[in-house]
């Protein structure tokens, strides 16, 4: 690798000049907007009114923005202090819908608070696991963070919102061209162009979309009636919080899965931000998980969607080598401000789906490659081959064969959910089993002494 490729533009604790801080924060905010499709779909699935949808989006933005600030600003005891913003978490989507249908928004809020508290309780437990996460497994987990966005990113590049729906050629052209602009600016660009390759690609994609598909232009014109400034109101749906014991188990499972995903994200953020570390430092990881749980609980309290750390934003940091945590704080502040400016947030949320998809593919590439480099940086042996191989077979099979797992025994369904948590769990367990002879040998040696 040459020096140019590894050079860091802004390190994790460095404060960039105001212009760069603002532009970089905006670049991250654009990626964070991808996740706002979730509260919109959520509101439509529970037949929420226009007013409910607007408030729900605003509360979700507030939770994600405040969570991003909490994660990076440097509060005592909480927050990883890495560039690792919060977004609306897809893992909670289905279960939150179930809660909303069963007991309305009050139950959804209550169960999200519970899930957040469970995530917080898990933070110190995961720190204790540091011995079971050798470097090659950390790398594998980071790579799987990138793999976990493949489904949503590719579907978005094709401009598809619903499973099985029709595809427009124009959307594919917009997606591929946007991705190419981002990639080429990153490869051949210098200075401004390289640092803001994603922003340039997204603006290019927007312009191309308006030229190719008039409906994108028409949708912008419809924003005319949306107010510039509005305070989210605690309407009828947002006044109560309730709990249901029957929902505790599914929400606990999702909280564990969410913690593992954030664990992977935080490991990736650490790897990118502190490349010199020989082994993971679990103190910021624990603090980060604590902040992640607190943000989720805050989302429930406010009445927004559960939030999660964003893999795509960490990938963007890796791609641009702009790693300053103050950018995460800046993005959080912008997200909070935009929650009160519905006209601007609506325009941003209208960004064509293929452009969003291209942005996630772009950032996912970095996550996958950083992870794989980390995995194979160690001396290799057959034990590692089988740990990594079987973990990948297991994790990826959950994405390739969902119908198989739909009919698997319940206990398998609990642990084999998505590629990221499944790969992580299987790799950790197999690594212990395949090294049992070495572990016993070490114990015997200790006893002899």
């Amino acid at each position: 690798m040459d020096k140019e490729e590894t050079a860091i533009e802004y390190s994790v604790n460095q404060v960039p000049p105001l212009r760069h801080l603002l532009l970089s924060s905006i670049q991250h905010v654009l990626i964070m907007f991808v996740s706002l499709a979730l509260p919109v779909i959520f509101a439509s699935q529970i037949m929420g009114s226009v007013e409910f949808t607007a408030n729900f989006i605003a509360f979700s933005m507030l939770a994600a923005g405040l969570g991003s600030i909490m994660q990076s600003v440097g509060l005592p005891f909480i927050g990883s202090r890495y560039l690792c913003p919060n977004v609306c978490g897809p893992s909670y989507f289905s279960l939150s819908l179930s809660a909303a249908w069963t007991g309305g928004i009050p139950l959804m809020r209550g169960m999200i608070i519970v899930a957040g508290l469970i995530e917080m309780a898990l933070a110190p437990v995961l720190q204790k696991l540091k011995n079971v996460f050798p470097t090659f497994i950390v790398g594998l987990v980071v790579a799987m963070v990138g793999v976990s966005v493949i489904k949503i990113s590719v579907a978005s590049v094709f401009g598809v919102a619903y499973q099985g729906d029709g595809i427009r050629n124009s959307d594919i052209i917009i997606g591929i061209c946007s991705l190419m602009v981002m990639v080429l600016c990153n490869i051949w660009g210098r200075g401004f162009v390289k640092t803001y390759c994603l922003l340039i690609g997204m603006v290019f994609g927007w312009v191309l979309a308006v030229l190719l598909l008039p409906e994108y232009w028409h949708s912008i014109l419809e924003v005319h009636d949306v107010p510039l400034f509005a305070l989210p109101s605690m309407g009828h749906a947002f006044t109560h919080i309730t709990f249901d014991l029957k929902m505790l188990i599914p929400f606990t499972i999702i909280a564990i899965s969410g913690s593992l995903k954030s664990f992977g994200n935080l490991l990736a953020a650490q790897k990118i931000s502190e490349p010199g570390l020989q082994e993971p430092n679990f103190v910021p990881i624990r603090r980060g998980l604590l902040a992640d749980g607190a943000s989720t609980a805050l989302a429930g309290l406010l009445g927004g969607m559960a939030v999660d750390t964003s893999s795509s934003n960490i990938g963007l940091a890796g791609a641009t080598k702009v790693l300053s945590r103050w950018i995460s704080v800046g993005a959080g502040v912008i997200f909070v401000v935009l929650a009160f400016l519905p006209k601007i947030s609506t325009v941003l949320s209208l960004t064509p789906k293929p452009v969003f998809g291209a942005a996630i593919v772009f950032t996912g590439c970095f996550m996958i490659c950083i992870g794989l480099q980390e995995t194979f940086s160690e001396t290799w042996d057959p034990r590692k081959t089988f740990v990594v191989g079987i973990a990948l077979f297991s994790g990826l099979s959950t994405a390739f064969l969902p119908e198989l797992y739909a009919r698997a025994p319940h206990v398998i369904q609990i642990f084999f959910t998505d590629p990221l948590p499944t790969t992580a769990i299987v790799a950790v367990v197999l690594n212990q089993i395949f090294n049992i002879d070495l572990i016993i040998g070490r114990l015997k040696k200790k006893n002899h002494r």
Partner: protein, 286 residues
């Protein structure tokens, strides 16, 4: 902004969720516009540009009001034949259903659902078709249609049949019930059917079987997550004329729970209040 005006400005597609459905309606609407403008000469245009009116998913056809097929982009051999009484594998008559749908005020794009076959294939496929009526400049009455093979279920499809059933019940009273429960009627398609029940939950037309069966307490029915969709819909109907209720079911082929929705309306049957509804699938986000 006239330069940016869409030719579909008068075509309301907001009720559809799938892009495939919207594309089909636009496709048929465009063809109807050509025929309205060009008249019977337009038929020659369609015949000379046959490949423009057939895609992998749908094709165009045109009938006159006597049942003669004037143009068929997918099955040329049907042109000139009278298909007024042709039946599908279930005994449904697609042509008659289309004529009826074109007169239905609840069905703005004249949707009908039946079985057909794909050009060159030899097995039945489910189909949903939309239609537009055209009066050519010469004064000839025709209708233009196109259908999706293996269509997605749209919420709009059940709204059309439930609203139609409510009208029929209020107009014809008890005699409407046998028409609505007839599996050959347009109130039944694929797994969907219109059903009715009294406020205490007693079934008037079963949502499951051809005849009412014992043992189903609709109001107490729960979905996979414990939600009571019928009970919840009835609460909404205290202050509204119609209610949409979403619920979740377990599919043995999918990891995630599948979303379905119930559309329910109030109707008056011989002075007694009843509820009329139907259930369909909802689109699953990617």
């Amino acid at each position: 902004m006239t330069g940016c005006q869409s030719r579909y400005e008068n075509l309301d597609l907001s009720m559809y969720q799938y892009r495939d459905t919207k594309n089909l309606v636009k496709f048929v609407y465009d063809a109807a516009s050509i025929l309205e403008k060009e008249g019977m000469k337009g038929l020659d245009y369609f015949r000379h540009n046959r490949t423009m009116f057939i895609t992998e998913d749908y094709y165009l056809y045109i009938y006159d009001t006597d049942g003669i097929n004037m143009f068929h982009a997918g099955m040329e051999h049907l042109e000139g034949k009278n298909l007024a009484d042709i039946t599908d594998k279930d005994g449904k008559k697609p042509y008659q259903m289309a004529l009826r749908a074109l007169e239905d005020p609840h069905n703005p794009h004249a949707w009908v659902h039946y079985s057909w076959w794909e050009p060159g294939k030899f097995f039945p496929v489910p189909k949903s078709s939309c239609h537009f009526k055209v009066t050519t400049p010469e004064g000839t009455q025709l209708f233009v249609g196109g259908g999706l093979n293996y269509p997605f279920e749209e919420k709009e499809f059940i709204r059309i049949i439930v609203d139609g059933a409510v009208d029929l019940i209020e107009k014809k009273g008890k005699s409407a019930l046998s028409e609505i429960s007839d599996p050959l009627s347009h109130y039944h398609y694929r797994d969907v059917c219109v059903f009715a029940f009294r406020p205490n939950g007693d079934i008037v037309i079963s949502p499951i079987m051809g005849s009412s069966i014992y043992g189903i307490q609709l109001l107490e029915c729960r979905d996979q997550v414990g939600h009571k969709p019928f009970m919840s819909a009835l609460k909404k109907l205290k202050s509204k004329n119609e209610a949409w209720e979403i619920f979740m079911v377990k599919s043995r082929y999918q990891r995630q729970l599948v979303k379905k929705c119930l559309y329910l309306r109030k109707a008056v049957l011989s002075g007694e209040e009843i509820f009329v509804g139907a259930i369909t699938n909802l689109p699953m986000p990617v």
